[in-house]
């Protein structure tokens, strides 16, 4: 690659993982710009747009509902339509669903309590810009920290999602077995992360930026996948 890949991390009122994402991306070699939700710059220069975790608008009304309509989202929609990469982490995932860029939605955890712990994730599909550095069946360990991380969608939609290989990560045990016991928030089909049909938009509840240079380090699989994808496309 000629120059460092560029990433933009968008801050909404109430985002609290924005600086974590900026830091994580920088140490992985990205040139990162922090953008404000009220800005409407062109996103053309960015290879990756990240919607970070947090409690945008306090999670009021519905998680991510108000952030989904922020002024900058017009540009984010455009960026996605052009097939460029958009990543939503935790609250970012919630926002992408509210924007309709990903199917389904995220609701209150089944046991109604906030969950902050490390979870194991099974890589279901390595054919994506987000998981190509791994193999199907690999197990990652990443932290979750959410009160509304239960993925839901209607039966028909679920069938489509599975059919098209959109499920990238499922909650599992240390050996990669998916089961009710390890699906702490009760997500439909134990889904922890999905991509859109085209594959350029990805949302996940766990926090890869918190396991980049700390903890398991497994967050790096996502960043490496992105970097190699961009590398392939770079002139």
């Amino acid at each position: 690659m000629k120059s460092a890949p560029k990433a933009a991390v968008i801050t909404f009122p109430g985002s609290n993982c924005d600086s974590d994402c900026v830091y994580g991306l920088e140490i992985m070699g990205f040139e990162v710009t922090a953008l404000w939700h009220k800005d409407k710059p062109s996103l053309a220069e960015y290879d990756l747009v990240v919607l970070p975790g947090g409690f945008s608008y306090g999670d009021y009304l519905r998680c991510g509902a108000i952030a989904a309509l922020a002024p900058i989202q017009e540009q984010v929609h455009k960026h996605a339509e052009q097939g460029k990469l958009v990543l939503g982490i935790c609250n970012g995932f919630q926002i992408l669903c509210e924007m309709g860029l990903l199917p389904g939605g995220l609701v209150r955890n089944q046991k109604m309590k906030f969950l902050s712990t490390d979870v194991c994730l099974k890589v279901e599909n390595e054919d994506s810009p987000w998981t190509s550095a791994s193999q199907r069946g690999d197990v990652w360990k990443l932290p979750i920290a959410h009160g509304d991380g239960r993925f839901v969608c209607e039966e028909k939609e679920l069938a489509t999602i599975k059919d098209k290989g959109q499920v990238l990560l499922r909650y599992c045990d240390a050996k990669g077995n998916v089961s009710k016991e390890f699906n702490l928030n009760g997500a439909t089909d134990a889904i922890a992360g999905i991509k859109n049909v085209r594959g350029n938009v990805f949302g996940l509840m766990p926090h890869p930026e918190r396991a980049t240079d700390l903890r398991s380090g497994d967050g790096r699989f996502i960043w490496k996948s992105i970097l190699s994808t961009l590398g392939e496309k770079a002139v």
Partner: protein, 80 residues
């Protein structure tokens, strides 16, 4: 006039709060309570000349922001 919006999760979405409350009601002797769903009510004061206008305006607000049709269903009533 006031537009009152009632919002519930769609039936296909598991409502753990409702579920818990239903069990509690039964434990308190209300065996007849067979199902509990918990939703939310949003009241919006709107400047409109007619009920119809107010209703249309409220529905537009629902479509734009107040309701997520992927997971929720809603009803609008207009109160004076």
């Amino acid at each position: 006039m006031k537009a009152r919006v009632h919002i519930f999760y769609k039936d296909s979405v598991f409502d753990p709060q409702g579920n818990t409350v239903q069990h509690s009601l039964q434990q308190l002797g209300f065996q007849q309570a067979s199902s509990v769903r918990i939703g939310k009510v949003i009241d919006v004061e709107v400047q409109s000349a007619t009920h119809d206008e107010a209703k249309k305006l409220a529905e537009k607000m629902c479509e734009t922001l107040l309701v997520n049709p992927v997971m929720e269903s809603f009803q609008v009533e207009i109160l004076d």
